[in-house]
Amino acid sequence: MFGKAATAATLTHLRRELAHAVWMLLLDDEFMHAYIHGFVFQLVDGILRVFFPRFLTYSADYPEK
């Protein structure tokens, strides 16, 4: 695009940007609303409960690699 190959540092940067962009996609409005206010869902025992998603762990290799 710029008539030359990207350096390793730029690629590293882009990979990080991509990973962040994908998480922006995943953490959509629906999820963020559920994170703050919970979402009501019925388990098969027939009882309605409010579920609050929380991130307990995040393990991943460095996307920059």
Binding site: L11, L18, V22, V40, L43, V44, V50, F52, P53, L56
Partner: protein, 349 residues
């Protein structure tokens, strides 16, 4: 390797209300101890403490040795009777079967006859990915010996054809029939993200930089969680955190035991917050539940040849016991996104 965990958990009926120390300090509102439930010591002298009252779900009573071990060749106690009485979570096919009872449908919808229904249900049982003695027993007992099983029904049987029919069944649910039990809104979505491309040695602001569009396949996170909560495995999810204590001797101090994330302090603290928030929220009349998401991602080669790679993002649930979660046969990993790998080629166009 430690032995399997002792699992004798008292039934909720046996859980008695404990009298907790009421804090003298009225400002100490972080933990409302008046609601504390303490179980009686079990056979190992272990007590559980639930900070916010008696739990409405105590999944450990469902656990048997077979559920926390993973040897397909081990003859385990026949659990089918147990499943018939205490299972409340059903596979989509079983849900169909149940709902059919209340409607005019035949019980084996969408299949042609009960024999094929029994066979397909057996094949799609959640634990049927490896064939074992238990599975073989189930094939004979639940399929071949079913009162409405007829070998003649299977003339012209083709598994592929039956699968196709299941896929096509009620893709557009009609209102009279209710939602299709196979439909969740957790399908894969083809999305795209744009990332600004910097050029080495050129100064420009992020807004001015050319954008590169990357296609990403993903699933809606909230829908994936809902779908997972509807799976049979969710029956064993721990919806409420607790603390566990063990008293080594009559004169010794209690020791706190940590063995799952839902016995940990962090989860208990966060649940206390959620519980308090929910009391003031719109759904204060409903019980709050913390769903612990464990995200895992690693670059994965897609084939044994070539170097096609991508990053899948997986989702596990901390609510599920590690003994089940770690079993590959439990299918507890939920795929939520596939990220392509940015490679050098993009820039040599």
């Amino acid at each position: 390797m430690p032995p399997p965990p002792p699992i004798p958990i008292p039934d909720p009926e046996q859980i008695i209300e404990g009298i907790a120390d009421i804090s003298d300090d009225p400002a100490d509102k972080t933990i409302n101890t008046s609601n504390l439930y303490r179980t009686d010591p079990d056979g190992y002298g272990i007590v559980r403490e639930y900070l916010h009252g008696r739990p409405s779900i105590t999944p450990d009573k469902h656990y048997s040795l077979a559920e926390v071990s993973d040897s397909p060749y081990m003859a385990t106690e026949d659990s089918s009777d147990f499943q018939a009485t205490s299972r409340t979570f059903l596979s989509p096919l079983q849900t169909l079967y149940q709902s059919a009872a209340s409607t005019a449908q035949t019980i084996f919808t969408p299949f042609r006859n009960p024999s094929i229904y029994h066979l397909m249900t057996w094949f799609y049982r959640p634990e049927s990915n490896t064939k074992s003695i238990t599975e073989l027993n189930s094939l004979v007992k639940d399929v071949i010996l079913a009162p409405d099983f007829k070998a003649d029904d299977l003339v012209g049987f083709d598994a592929k054809k039956e699968n196709k029919m299941m896929d096509a069944y009620r893709e557009a649910p009609s209102e009279s029939e209710g939602p299709s039990p196979f439909t969740f809104d957790d399908t894969w979505i083809k999305g795209s993200v744009e990332i600004p491309l910097p050029c080495d040695g050129v100064k420009q602001s992020e807004e001015e930089a050319p954008k590169f569009k990357v296609e990403v396949y993903y699933r809606r996170l909230t829908e994936v969680i809902k779908a997972a909560l509807s799976e049979p495995a969710a029956e064993n999810f721990h919806m409420f955190p607790f603390k566990e204590f063990w008293k080594p001797g009559p004169d010794e101090l209690e020791e706190q035991m940590y063995w799952e994330s839902y016995t940990g302090d962090r989860w208990n603290e966060e649940y206390t917050k959620i519980h308090a928030d929910n009391q003031e929220g719109l759904h204060h009349n409903l019980e709050a539940v913390l769903i612990a998401l464990k995200i895992w991602s690693d670059s994965t080669s897609l084939a044994q040849f070539g170097n096609a790679q991508m990053w899948p993002i997986y989702l596990f649930f901390g609510n599920q016991s590690k003994y089940s979660r770690a079993k590959p046969s439990s299918f507890s990993a939920h795929h939520i996104a596939y990220m392509p790998k940015v490679c050098l080629k993009f820039f040599q166009l």
